[in-house]
Symmetry: C2
Amino acid sequence: MPQFINTKQNLVTEAIDGMLRTAGGHLARLDGYPHIRVVVRTDWDKSRVALVSGGGSGHEPAHAGFVGKGMLTAAVCGDVFASPSVDAVLAGILAVTGTAGCLLIVKNYTGDRLNFGLAAERARAFGLKVSMVIVDDDIALPELPQARGVAGTLFVHKIAGALAEAGEDLDAVTQAANRVIDNVVSIGMSLDTCTVPGSPKEDRIAKGKAELGLGIHGEAGIEQVSFTNAKDAMAMVVDRLANHINAGSIVALLNNLGGATLLEMSVLAEELMKSDLGRRIHFMVGPASMMTSLDMRGFSVSLLPVSNGDEVLLKAPVDPWAWPPCVNVSGVNVLELPDGLTPIKPMPSQNPKTAAFLIRCCDAFIAAEADLNALDAKSGDGDTGSTLAGASRAMKGAIDRLPLADLTQLYRAIGQELSQTMGGSSGVLLAIFFSAVGDAASSGLNVVDALKAGLDRVQQVGGASAGDRTMIDALAPALDALPNGISEAAKAARTGADYTANITKAKAGRASYISEDKLKGHNDPGAEAVARLFETLDDYLKG
Amino acid sequence: MPQFINTKQNLVTEAIDGMLRTAGGHLARLDGYPHIRVVVRTDWDKSRVALVSGGGSGHEPAHAGFVGKGMLTAAVCGDVFASPSVDAVLAGILAVTGTAGCLLIVKNYTGDRLNFGLAAERARAFGLKVSMVIVDDDIALPELPQARGVAGTLFVHKIAGALAEAGEDLDAVTQAANRVIDNVVSIGMSLDTCTVPGSPKEDRIAKGKAELGLGIHGEAGIEQVSFTNAKDAMAMVVDRLANHINAGSIVALLNNLGGATLLEMSVLAEELMKSDLGRRIHFMVGPASMMTSLDMRGFSVSLLPVSNGDEVLLKAPVDPWAWPPCVNVSGVNVLELPDGLTPIKPMPSQNPKTAAFLIRCCDAFIAAEADLNALDAKSGDGDTGSTLAGASRAMKGAIDRLPLADLTQLYRAIGQELSQTMGGSSGVLLAIFFSAVGDAASSGLNVVDALKAGLDRVQQVGGASAGDRTMIDALAPALDALPNGISEAAKAARTGADYTANITKAKAGRASYISEDKLKGHNDPGAEAVARLFETLDDYLKG
């Protein structure tokens, strides 16, 4: 799988620089490229306890994305899935630590422990107060006391960050961090492995399986389980967590491991809340990509019982955008549908002349059915005639229900009828046309101007203009000529319709996808229908 | 590719409910499932112009993720990649529109235009003021005037949203939306297609190729181009955009189409800023997933020239977390490395007795090289002896540079030497041990307590305890016995080391991965080394 990178060697430094440019100016890096990759706050005066975390890259936005007021003071970034060097960690500590001291938040991996640990010693030799906590929230390997540190680490960043920001001292911040570590539990599930830059993708998850208890460095899960759907997947995850979580109300962190879609993550959020632990989950962080494993199509759930005061710490505002707000989980708020979805039926009224006129129009379309179908077959699926004829037959059948004595109401009623009886784009566009004509008429425009207002609306919604090989090519000139009488309008419509046979580069509608030679010499069926309508009316009104 | 969903039919409704539960209580939906899927603000009093957008699902967080104060008032969600129905749009309009009216922000797809257009007509029939704008920011198809609406739509949401929030009237909001639409340009590039739920994934992009000018519904790009790296990919995208963007300073929206990693997106941000248009880009939104195409591994860039007042509108705070802050783009802020990374060399000093003692220790390890290697071969790569012997030889060579007359300084100096000359975890752990002993000694502890403090630190960082089959099993009892003399300490170390032959379930270090029968009967090489050291010292001090 190719990726949007340049070289594997420069991947992390280029990504950090890109991140810094788009961080709004609150972040900087130390001048230690390529080996020392440390992101620090620029709005930091060393007056409080500094929080330094980090580890391998490939977990973005962790860790650099969480540097900022209220969370980390510095992030030390290793290569993808590789611990940063002792020198890099030391540089991070020295850059941000003042007399209040520094807490190192380290995920439980040997390389991180050792390198952060030795850097801490070297920093202490300078007289700095440095404490270190080891996060081991992963419950996937219950037989190993050396549990890994995964996304639950973010609760440590947040709660320790809020306390440090509030001016608590190093002991208090360290104690709080350890309290979180003692109580937070996490586990992940994945449907696909991740793509490590420069390496072929491992294809180890069998069809119909998911991995449960995987690591954030692409490590295999502790077991492959059957995968059926989101509900069962979340139930399995919750079942494992339930054995390890202490009592009380819970904050959940729902983490995208990188490759799940946002649709999937929202479904998983829904299943988490509907799960056996759902009633205890009062607060939620995410779903969001927070501690990823590159592009792994998976998720993890981290749970922390919420002690006194934690709610305030979890919700304290922070600068880093990568931290989603910690919100109160709510039920699904459902509002009643508004009135007005069922169209108000117009009061029928009589007008024999109007009825006869309307029936004549309908008959014109019915008579033209075969011809219009034939024309449409040149550029589409050959149903324009049948569509119009069908709507016309329905209109004739509905004639007694129409408000024939009130022209304004009639336009709207015709629009409503067409929206219900005429399929396809043309049905919608004609419904829009008549509704808009009705609006215009009700605001006092004369018939011609009202019809033109309808045409304008159709052009806006449909996106076609004159010359685009649509019914507009006949309708627009017909309406322009209409003040000079129906005969002039019919002539103009015919000229316009016939002209469409020369338009071979359609810009809108279905004909835009058809090759030029197939269109040449054939009128557009919509324009032809309009021309025939006006010609029929001309005959009718003359007769 | 399996996905974390339940059924295709319920995917969108379940995802919306999950999103609502985790939105902090500011959002609701209308009671119209399964067909009417409308997300609305709950903190909305209809006093201002309402903004309604929507379209097919599969573009999350668009559109529901942008509902909230300062952006959309309602989002109407269709099925995946399918336009919502007229009734659904109408329900959305009716639910949120007051006397100030409503602006429909519609992306340029026939289904959306028609359904939003007809819903607008039906809403107008109720006397509501409704205007509609069509976003067509995609420049991928320059020969077609019917450009698609893609991620640039978000600029319309943001700028119109800020104006509506500020109390501007419908005409002003509509005008501003149209101004944005006239000026915003977008194009996307992808390395892989998206996985539509329930459909097999199309595998149409050849190896070494990328698609340029794809759509957000998985439509193929207008061309397949050669893909080499992120730099060239971004250069190509910028080159296309440059032909369409008006003069002036620019805000860029860098959108993840769903499947690119955050590392890749940051590299692309860096390349965008280093591109030919980089100097003109003064503001940035993202990189982030904003208008996705499910899990498509691709990105899009949307550019908008920033007119007077736009900066304020773009930066106005909003409720929806899905909107990343619009930030001023900056150069990469680089801070000098802190002092202290190069360890201060201790001042050498003489003490023949200490020198002789130290040399004796080194010789003990050198003599044990072969035996320790043999033991290590039972559980590892057989180099413990060589590692210790190598470090010992280096230490002997460095003896004249050590501060032999100052014990506190000497501990630290030994730690520093070991961190430079001894590889592997054990080198780091011994360096930590001696540094911590030096710290403890400098704070006034006696030798035994200082050594114990070092051991504590090693246990914290290394994670091993007594009984874990490590050097601690010899060192801890030896230090406990040391107050009774070196002979007692040596005996205790020997007992501890021999006991490790019975420990077959290692909990830390490399031996934790070795099967029990391979460990049984063999001392841990680290513990054995400690025992030999104490035995040697016992002989030496007696002699």
